[in-house]
């Protein structure tokens, strides 16, 4: 008799665990979809138009080569972010992280106002590539991969 009760208890427990696991799995796998993005690309930001005017948002892309204007006295930084399709001008205060340079992946937190992205927080998005510098190799090559994924995301 007591074995029966034990068995039933165990069966109830297993059923309960399966239900909880199922619900948890649904929440994580089904409830979240591709729309959970950490940042928008310039193309996506521009496509949203007035929806994103002066609201907190993250913008990510690559620093357009030759676009960086750094005023060391005023700690004032201006550059252009690109995703291979569109570009957005970014304005930021304060020194950027050390790895900031042309063609580097960057994610900015801030607001898009009158065609300029006012960044309050600037983060580097590193690629999955780690290499010792080789003679003759350009930094552009290492961001090819990230560039590709951004383009795919933007077009999908």
């Amino acid at each position: 008799m007591s074995g029966n009760v034990e068995g039933r208890k165990r069966a109830t427990l297993v059923v309960a665990v399966v239900i909880v696991l199922g619900a948890f799995g649904y929440l994580l796998y089904g409830g979240l979809d591709k729309n959970v993005v950490f940042f928008l690309t310039p193309q996506e930001l521009l496509a949203k138009g007035t929806q994103v005017e002066d609201v907190p948002v993250r913008l990510g892309g690559m620093v357009a080569p030759g676009s960086v204007k750094w005023d060391a006295d005023k700690l004032d930084l201006r550059f252009v972010l690109m995703d291979g399709v569109k570009t957005v001008e970014v304005h930021s205060k304060g020194a950027p992280p050390q790895m900031f340079r042309d063609n580097m992946g960057v994610v900015c937190e801030g607001r898009f106002r009158n065609g300029i992205f006012e960044s309050t927080n600037l983060m580097i998005k590193h690629s999955e590539e780690y290499r010792a510098p080789k003679p003759g190799q350009t930094p552009q090559e290492m961001y090819k991969e990230m560039f590709k994924t951004l383009k795919q995301d933007a077009s999908s």
Partner: protein, 244 residues
């Protein structure tokens, strides 16, 4: 069942303890050696210089926490199926080690993130899911500490242990499923050959450390469980319990 039994059971435990200490020393020497070797052969990365070497602990810790949680899942399922205390203790030992590795992954990730990304923390899918994983298993350990009845503790732990393990593939795939600040997994094609070699030997060394921790905690927990059972018998007037 008297004092004699207690004394007798101490001797093999002592012998096991010194064996464990020797194995532990060997395991840590191995890790120190792989670390030293990797640091010596790795040329500075073109972007982050020597900071790249944080990879040799951050990534092995992340990989091996997955192994630990896989053991938690298997042992928890087996416990729910067969109801044996041994499986519960194995799950607990693996969960402890897993939580330690997740904590190490997070801590080193933050230390790495500040000088390279420019931030200690942000709420992208990879970082958030890893933090959730960490808190689930910290919760698991707290749950074990607060439930006294071994059967109930084992059943509840098995449920939480399985729930937490479900999160592991999500953590791994998060950088591919969602757009994150954290980059996707590196592979030998995106790493210099000496970085790949260094990462691999350290991953193996950390795996041996993790397996040693799990084995050591599993044995300790079995001894604790045996001591608890013995205390209970003594408290019941040395009659071998109510079933005798």
């Amino acid at each position: 069942m008297g004092v004699g039994t207690v004394e007798l059971s101490v001797a093999p435990a002592r012998a096991r303890r010194s064996t464990g200490m020797l194995i532990g020393l060997g395991v840590f020497l191995l890790l120190a050696a792989t670390q030293a070797y990797s640091i010596s052969i790795s040329t500075p990365d073109r972007d982050m210089g020597h900071l790249q070497k944080i990879m040799y602990v951050h990534v092995p810790a992340a990989w091996n926490m997955m192994i630990a949680y896989f053991i938690v899942a298997i042992a928890s399922l087996r416990y729910l199926w067969k109801g044996r205390e041994k499986d519960d203790l194995l799950a607990a030992a693996a969960a402890e080690t897993g939580a330690l590795m997740t904590g190490l992954t997070l801590a080193l990730g933050m230390i790495w993130g500040k000088p390279t990304w420019g931030i200690w923390w942000t709420w992208d899918a990879r970082l958030t899911s890893t933090a959730v994983l960490f808190f689930i298993y910290v919760g698991y350990l707290i749950l074990r500490a607060f439930v006294d009845d071994p059967d109930r503790r084992a059943q509840w732990s098995a449920a939480v242990g399985l729930l937490g393990a479900l999160n592991v593939p999500i953590v791994y795939m998060s950088v591919r499923w969602w757009r994150t600040l954290h980059q996707v997994q590196s592979s030998p094609s995106t790493l210099d050959p000496n970085y790949t070699l260094s990462l691999r030997i350290n991953a193996i060394a950390v795996m041996i450390v993790v397996l040693f921790f799990i084995r050591h905690r599993y044995q300790t927990m079995q001894l604790e469980a045996a001591a608890d059972a013995m205390h209970e018998r003594i408290a019941l007037g040395d009659r071998g319990g109510i079933n005798a």
